[in-house]
């Protein structure tokens, strides 16, 4: 019989106590693995969602983080909008390969999913490098056509042909718009905030009654925005003046028919920009120019995302890791208590083995192996249980949060886990093993 099989049989002899101590280690490790899998998925999601565009352009008022949270994650409304004319201007910039306008502020009445007005270009672009939207249905051709995310379709039980209304100004808004939108296409799941978004034709967004800003206010905003570009301001104000005249004429004739909104009166919340792939400095140059010339700013999405990761998710992850590390440590102590308490009962067994010729180092090794088997065995069980749990929970988590869990992704910390468990086992097993080492054989046999 080998020493390890003696250790194993001794563990089995104290079945319940051994199982409970191994279980406590397993639970600690399982929690750690789950935390790592989830944080890995969050990390990947945060990285993945930001790299399809090089810059996000928004108004200078409101911070970079707020811009990314609203434009990419749609969790926070933007504080101020940009002129639509500015989007048209950026689209013409030779450094810009693609510019996509985003306008939002409303939510669906059912489910309170954010509404985003955009153009078809948004769906033609990759949502993450190499990954294109897969959409079932047709493109938005009418003002009140909508393309919905997979999660919206699932939760609201909507499909192509479904009609819905929207609520003005966020989930707590009470004003329900009269316009009815029709679902013309449903996106396949992307594992991004797109899944929880309702996209509408940006022209339809402007056509919603109450979305037009009073012309006086628009005029003031244009003056502020184009303060350093009088030529463009002049063109813009001319459009506003024309619109004002038309309004006055309609008022005189008591006509209330629908008319096209001039571009100068339209606004966008953010503009997603793709620069030329071979011009590495384009995003940097463009970003610098935007800050100086107008009341706009361009953000590299990676920077605030890293900030969120580090400040928010990072510290939560860190806290959970400390918690699970403490659980594992406490489990280690329970292994120590279990083995150490058994030592008085096992003194005689150690004496017998020594009488049969076992060396001090052999009995030391047997006790240490017990600690290692409990600790590492428990850890292995916990590792499998953690990944097993991730496998079982992955569809549910994806459905609920949109996070794409990869249950068998192994974090680098997991490679460190087992050497750490081995060290822990050696540390907690050392004292009982030394007790075995020092056992007086004659005394143990006579006792």
């Amino acid at each position: 019989m080998s020493l390890i099989s003696i250790a194993w049989k001794s563990i089995r002899q104290r079945g319940l106590a051994s199982a409970l101590t191994a279980l406590s280690v397993a639970l600690g490790v399982m929690m750690m693995v789950v935390v790592l899998v989830i944080s890995g998925a969050v990390d990947a999601a945060f990285n993945q969602r930001t790299i399809a565009y090089d810059l996000i352009v928004g108004h200078q008022r409101g911070g970079e983080l707020a811009l990314v949270l609203s434009a990419v994650y749609r969790v926070q409304p933007a504080s101020e909008n940009l002129p639509y004319l500015y989007y048209l201007q950026l689209r013409e910039d030779r450094r810009v390969v693609s510019a996509v306008p985003l306008a939002f502020g409303d939510v669906t009445q059912e489910g309170h999913f954010p509404l985003v007005g955009t153009t078809d270009e948004y769906f033609r672009n990759d949502y993450t490098p190499g990954r294109k939207f897969r959409i079932r249905g047709k493109r938005m051709s009418h003002h009140f056509d909508a393309i919905i995310g997979a999660e919206v379709a699932r939760r609201n039980n909507w499909d192509i042909g479904s009609q819905f209304t929207i609520v003005h100004g966020g989930a707590d808004g009470t004003h329900v718009h009269d316009e009815k939108f029709t679902v013309v296409a449903v996106m396949e799941r992307t594992g991004t905030p797109n899944d929880r978004t309702v996209f509408v034709n940006i022209e339809g967004f402007y056509a919603i009654a109450g979305h037009e800003t009073p012309l006086n206010e628009v005029e003031q905003r244009l003056k502020n925005f184009y303060a350093s570009d009088p030529e463009r301001l002049k063109t813009a104000l001319a459009q506003i003046a024309a619109a004002r005249e038309q309004e006055a004429a309609e008022a005189a004739h008591d006509h209330h028919h629908h008319h096209a909104i001039p571009d100068a009166a339209k606004e966008v919340t953010a503009i997603l920009i793709r620069t030329r792939p071979d011009a590495l400095f384009d995003p940097i140059n463009l970003s610098a120019e935007l800050r100086e010339g107008y009341q706009a700013m361009a953000v590299n999405p990676m920077k605030p995302i890293r900030q969120i990761m580090n400040q928010l998710v990072g510290s939560v992850k860190q806290g959970l890791m400390v918690l699970t590390a403490m659980i594992i440590l406490v489990s280690g102590v329970s292994i120590f208590v279990s083995i150490y308490n058994s030592m008085s009962d096992r003194r005689r067994e150690i004496g017998i083995m020594r009488a049969l010729g076992a060396r001090r180092t052999s009995v030391f090794g047997i006790i240490l192996m017990e600690s290692v088997v409990l600790c590492v065995g428990g850890g292995l069980l916990g590792w499998l249980a953690g990944h097993g749990l991730a496998v079982a929970a992955a569809p549910y988590v994806t459905a609920r949060t949109g996070l794409l869990l990869d249950p068998w992704t192994v974090d680098t910390l997991e490679f460190v886990l087992f050497p750490v468990l081995l060290l822990l086992a050696s540390a907690v097993g050392f004292l009982p093993a030394m007790t075995a080492y020092r056992t007086d054989v004659a005394d143990a046999l006579s006792g």
Binding site: M1, S2, I352, L356, G357, A358, R359, S362, L445
Partner: protein
């Protein structure tokens, strides 16, 4: 010569610091394959003598020669290995490991020597002591007599040169006493093993051709006087 003790002295220190001499043996010997019963009163030093002979304890002076090796001169690690390979033990309280089956307990007797555990030999020993069918039972499921038979098989598992038995029948019911005693003696004879059995029961000792009284050759009080 299988066992020779020469001028062996061993004492214990009492908690109050005084010295209690237990062994003072000028000479004691056993020939190869010989079987002897050593009779002595309780507390007379019988177990200490077995511990000294097996190398569990070292004498404070003198020589303990087993199969030509003076084990009292060996470092502990070598003594342990010597015990694992040359000495078998049958204890009064059987001392089987409760977590191991009968067969595993016998295999344990081979575990600490250099030779590979011989499962077939362990099974043949269990068959010899009449426990072939119970080899996979743990001690808790064996009767007292069966447990002692397992411990006899274990004592022979390492093919020892010397078997030490410490009151092997003391905890066994009268019906099993003769059985155990014959089993030990017969198997030792079959395997050419020298047997030294200590007992306080004269009726057990009288079954041996050679009966030695510990008090006849152990004179700890003389050592005590010399020390004083």
């Amino acid at each position: 010569m299988s066992l020779l003790l020469e001028n062996v002295r061993r004492a214990y220190r009492n908690p109050d610091g005084t010295v209690l001499p237990v062994l003072n043996i000028e000479r004691y010997e056993l020939g190869q394959g010989e079987q002897a019963a050593l009779v002595g009163a309780s507390g007379g030093g019988k177990t200490t003598l077995l511990n000294v002979v097996s190398g569990i304890l070292t004498p404070h002076s003198g020589r303990v020669i087993v199969s030509g090796t003076d084990i009292s001169r060996l470092p502990e690690v070598v003594r342990d290995r010597f015990r694992a390979e040359k000495i078998g033990f049958v204890f009064q309280t059987f001392n089987l490991l409760p977590g191991l089956t009968a067969l595993e307990n016998v295999l344990l007797g081979m575990t600490f020597s250099r030779s590979r555990p011989d499962r077939a030999f362990a099974e043949s020993l269990l068959e010899r002591v009449g426990l072939k069918d119970r080899r996979h039972h743990r001690p808790g499921r064996l009767s007292v007599g069966e447990q002692q038979r397992v411990s006899v098989a274990r004592a022979l598992a390492n093919r020892p040169a010397l078997l030490l038995a410490d009151e092997p029948t003391a905890n066994v019911d009268p019906a099993n006493q003769d059985l155990i005693l014959h089993l030990i003696r017969d198997t030792c004879r079959e395997h050419q093993v020298t047997l030294l059995m200590v007992t306080h029961a004269m009726e057990v000792a009288e079954q041996f051709e050679r009966v030695d009284r510990l008090q006849d050759f152990n004179h700890p009080q003389i050592a005590s006087e010399a020390t004083a």
